[in-house]
């Protein structure tokens, strides 16, 4: 199994989620994060003091998938998270040793 983590633009979350659902992904975990990268932040001014905020709001999607599905999931995320402008985000893929479903104790791919 693999754990796929994708950092994407927040307003793409809904679309990506639906696309993943369509290819049969039944679960994911989402975190609000702040990204720092090529996409530069913005200035804010408060009573004349300017702050540079270099962090941009992003959303991180974490999906555990069977090895067989990895490629499809990556493709779907890429297609739906893409706007073509800087800051679209990254997909990180990592090995996942094991998964347990707390409710039933199922282990491995059936727990997904």
């Amino acid at each position: 199994m693999k754990l796929i983590e994708a950092v994407i633009k927040p307003f793409k979350l809904e679309e990506v989620k639906e696309a993943l659902e369509e290819i049969g992904i039944q679960g994911m975990t989402v975190t609000e994060v702040k990204g720092f990268g090529r996409q530069k932040g913005h200035f804010e001014t408060y009573r004349g003091t300017a702050y540079k905020s270099e962090f941009v709001p992003k959303v991180e999607i974490k999906v555990a998938v069977a090895d067989s599905q990895v490629q499809r999931v990556i493709e779907v995320i890429m297609r739906h998270a893409k706007t073509g402008s800087i800051g679209d985000g990254k997909i990180f893929v990592r090995q996942l040793d094991s998964v347990v479903r707390i409710r039933t104790g199922e282990v491995g791919e059936t727990a997904l």
Partner: protein, 462 residues
């Protein structure tokens, strides 16, 4: 920026202003104008008979009018600012608060400089006030009995100022989350001068043609709510939908803010409606009671409607219903008793809920339902005044249909139609004008970023 040329111009301008202000202060002193041939009844038909003796200021009435003015200010900021911005997404919170706040500032000056004169100044051809009272020249501490016999003329002026402020602020709900700030400023200044001031004159100004016709509008059903609500519809149509409207979820970011705002609106509305009696007596009390009753009934009516139709009663529904009820009772407040107030409230709650439901079908994006609540609620209220008004409540008013005078309903309908026409047409033209010159809408990127950052370099929360 500090070139001597500019400096000199600046200096000259300052001196000019000082000169004007000095002169005008003299003017203010000299406003002893005898209100001699007061031809028409006091505004909003308060039952006080014009006394032959020189008008005397009543401290109770003045206190009530000043208190009411402060209450109406609180309706715009923080009331409306909270009510509206709580319903927005986090990235646009400040932009709408800003709009309410800046309208307060802009119109406060506009009104003092020329707005009050256009709206309430000496009548010209029954359609507009003259410029005689520009800069409040002649508007001072003595009562102007044709409008209000027992309070300083400036007290009446500042009370009306607060109405002129809140009216355009109500519109902002329609174009929230997508208008350019510069375009907004230009639009508001035009709108208040070209649409609000004349309309106020027609309905409330001495000599105004709708007033002469006998249209009843105690505290602004047509002038304030229909005009702003229908203008909101025009804004929603001309500006188009927000990006992602109908596809992305856009739930309110902070409903407690909205509840707080609705509560402050209710609180301030006592000044709005009961203050419109222009004196602290029985008429104010009656309007106060009608206001409270209608708001309560409307909130419950909306609540029950959605409970039945959607299965759950919601806080936003109750708050929206209360505002709808306050809108609807506005034109009627000084003419109806407590029980008709309940009926007006129930009508408002049900009708406005339906209006808001239908919006989605109609396909325009009135973001915060300026039209659905103020346009529709105001229309219902103006017509209902023609149904339930009773001289038993206010001898200075008229009887409505249910009290044997069907004609009043016709007059009310006419004034509603006129208000719709003027508000929609006028706003449409102004928007097109601003669009061609300044450009109405922010870029898609700015809209996706949010107006707080793109227009104001700020974020609401950190």
């Amino acid at each position: 920026m500090t070139a001597p040329g500019r400096c000199r111009i600046g200096l000259r301008w300052i001196l000019l202003c000082i000169a004007i202000s000095v002169t005008s202060a003299d003017g203010v002193l000299a406003e002893e104008m005898p209100p001699a041939g007061s031809l028409s009844a006091p505004v909003q038909s308060s039952p006080v008979a014009p006394s032959p003796s020189p008008p005397k200021i009543d401290t109770g009435d003045t206190t009530w009018l000043l208190t009411s003015s402060a209450l109406v200010l609180a309706m715009t900021a923080p009331g409306l600012a909270l009510f509206y911005s709580g319903m927005l997404r986090r990235k646009n919170v400040l932009s709408t608060m800003m709009q309410c706040f800046i309208i307060l500032c802009l119109v406060s000056l506009q009104w003092v400089l020329w707005g009050y004169s256009l709206a309430f100044g000496p009548d010209k051809w029954h359609v507009i006030g003259g410029l005689d009272w520009m800069g409040l020249s002649g508007v001072g501490g003595d009562p102007y009995p044709d409008y209000a016999a027992t309070v300083p003329h400036q007290a009446f002026m500042v009370f009306q100022l607060m109405f002129a402020v809140i009216t355009p602020a109500l519109i902002t709900g329609a174009f929230a989350e997508r208008i350019k700030f510069s375009a907004f400023v230009v639009f508001i200044l035009l709108w208040t001068t070209v649409i609000y001031d004349p309309l106020a004159h027609w309905v409330w100004g001495i000599g105004g043609w709708l007033r002469n016709l006998g249209a009843l509008d105690f505290a602004g059903g047509t002038v304030v709510h229909i005009s702003s609500g229908v203008a909101g519809l025009a804004c929603a149509v001309v500006l188009g939908k927000r990006h992602g409207h109908g596809r992305e979820p856009m739930p309110p970011h902070n409903l407690p803010m909205t509840v707080m705002g609705a509560s402050l609106l209710w609180f301030g509305w006592f000044g709005f409606n009961a203050g419109s009696a222009l004196s602290g007596g029985a008429l104010a009390t009656s309007a106060f009671v009608a206001t409270n009753t209608a708001a309560a009934a409307a909130a419950l009516a909306w609540l029950v409607s959605e409970w039945v139709y959607r299965g759950k009663p919601t806080m936003l529904g109750a708050a929206s219903g209360a505002v709808a009820g306050l809108v609807a009772i506005t034109p009627a407040a000084g003419y109806v008793g407590p029980l008709p107030s309940i009926l007006i409230g129930i009508g408002a709650g049900v009708i406005c809920y339906i209006a808001v439901l239908l919006k989605d079908r109609m396909g325009y994006d009135d973001a915060l339902d300026a039209f659905g609540i103020h346009g529709i609620g105001g229309t219902w209220g103006a017509l209902a005044t023609g149904l339930f008004a009773s001289k038993a409540i206010n001898p200075g008013g008229a009887d409505g249909l249910f009290f044997g005078n069907p004609g009043q309903l016709g007059i009310q309908a006419l004034s509603v139609a006129i208000s719709w026409l003027v508000a929609f047409g006028g706003t449409y033209v102004l928007l097109k004008l601003v669009d061609v010159t300044v450009g109405l809408r922010v870029t898609k990127e700015d809209e996706v970023t949010g107006l707080d950052l793109s227009q104001h370099n700020e974020t609401a929360y950190s």
